[in-house]
Symmetry: C2
Amino acid sequence: MAIKTNVEKGILYGIGVGTGDAELISLKAVRIINECDVIILPTETKENCHAYNIAKEAVRNIDDKEIICKKFLMTKDERLLEESHRQIADDIEEYLNEDKKVGFLTIGDPSIYSTFAYVQEILLSRGRRVENISGIPSFCAAAARLGISLSSGSDEIHIISANHDIIGTSDYKGTRIYMKSGRKLDALISFLREEEKKRKLDIYVIANCGMENEKIWHGLTEEEIPTEYLTIVIVKA
Amino acid sequence: MAIKTNVEKGILYGIGVGTGDAELISLKAVRIINECDVIILPTETKENCHAYNIAKEAVRNIDDKEIICKKFLMTKDERLLEESHRQIADDIEEYLNEDKKVGFLTIGDPSIYSTFAYVQEILLSRGRRVENISGIPSFCAAAARLGISLSSGSDEIHIISANHDIIGTSDYKGTRIYMKSGRKLDALISFLREEEKKRKLDIYVIANCGMENEKIWHGLTEEEIPTEYLTIVIVKA
C-alpha cells in the first residue's frame, strides 16, 4: 500500500548557527534545535561538521536527538548534483511524513551559499513546510574580529564565491568579500597580488573565524593556509 | 586639573540586535547588554528606536541601565557630519573614562551601514577598547521571511545603499540588495521598473521585516510605503 503524503505534516528548519563563536547563535536557533526530533548535518561525520560543533556548545544535549549525516556531492556535473540534492530531499521528506521536526544545521546564514538552499527549494516546490532560522554570516563575524566596518555611507558590499570565476570582480567599488575559496585560495591570492601592483588595496585574510585555530592577516600572506580552513578575504579598494 | 585619560578603562560594544524578531538576537548580545552600565541609542527618543524596542523584548530590565539617546546628524555636509560624530565619540569617551561598559545598540549588524562604525573608528584611533557584537543583518532576516536563498553556486550578492547613486548597479550579476532607500524608495522603484521593461527580474520588496507591521511584495508595488519604514528590495536578475 502506498504511503499517502500529507504536506501539512512535519517541518524542516534551516538553522544558521553562525561561524565559530557558539555564543553568536540566536535565541531562536537554540529554541528550535531543542524542539527538533532530527538534526541533519551536511557532512560525512558529525565530528567533521563545524555547524554541529558550534551547536553542541550551545545545546549540550543535542546528541539526545537523532543525528543524520548527509554528505553533499561536490561536483560541477549539474545532473549528478541535482540527483544528489533530490535524494537528500527525499530522505528528509520521509521524516516529515512521520510528522517530525527536522533541523538542518548550516554554518553562517542558511540563505548565503548554503547547501540547505537546494533542499529548501525542492521541498517548498512539493508544498512542504520549510522555515529558515537566520544566523550570523561569516563575513559579519569576520568584521567583528577584525574591528572593521564593511560599509558606511555610500559604500557597496560585493559577496563573491571565489570558487568560481573572479575575473572582473576588481571592477567593483567599495568592499569585496571573497568566500568559499577552498582549493582556489592560491589563485585568489595571486589575483589580488596582481591587482595590488596597480593600486592600493586594504586586504584582510581571516581563516577559521571565531574558532580555536583562527588566523588573521592584514595584507596578503605568504603563509600556506590549509584548504579545509574556512577562509574569508575582505578587500577594500 | 586635567583629567588623565586611561585608555585601558571602560569598553564600548557595538551590539547588533537583528532586525525585528527579538528572538533572533544572539546569546552574546543578551549577555553583553546585561553586563553594560550604559546603553547608547542612535535616535532622538528611545520609543522611536527600533534597536531599543527589539533589545527590550530580549532583555526585560534594560531600563534599569542608564539609557542615553544620541541623535546622529543626517547631512551630506562632510564637515558637519565629522564634527557630529566626534562630539558623540567624546561623550561616549567620558563614560569610558569612568571605567563604564557602554553598549551602542544597532539594527542588524554593526559592521553594515551602521552609525556605530563612525564612533568605532574614532575611538579605536584614540586607543580605546571597542568590540563589535555581530547581529543578523536585515537582508538575511528578509530572505528567511521570504523563503528564498540569496546566493547559491556561483551567484554573487551585491549590497547597495539606495540612498546614493544606483546607476550602473543593474550591471551586477546575481542578487542585488538595496538597503537604506529612505526617501529615495520611489526613485529606486522607478529605476527597477525601467529595468524590468528590458529584461525579466525577480523582485521582492519587504518593509519593516520581522516587525508587527511588516509588509511583503513579490514584484514591484504601486502601494505607498512610508519613508520611515525600513525597506529592503531584493532583485534577482
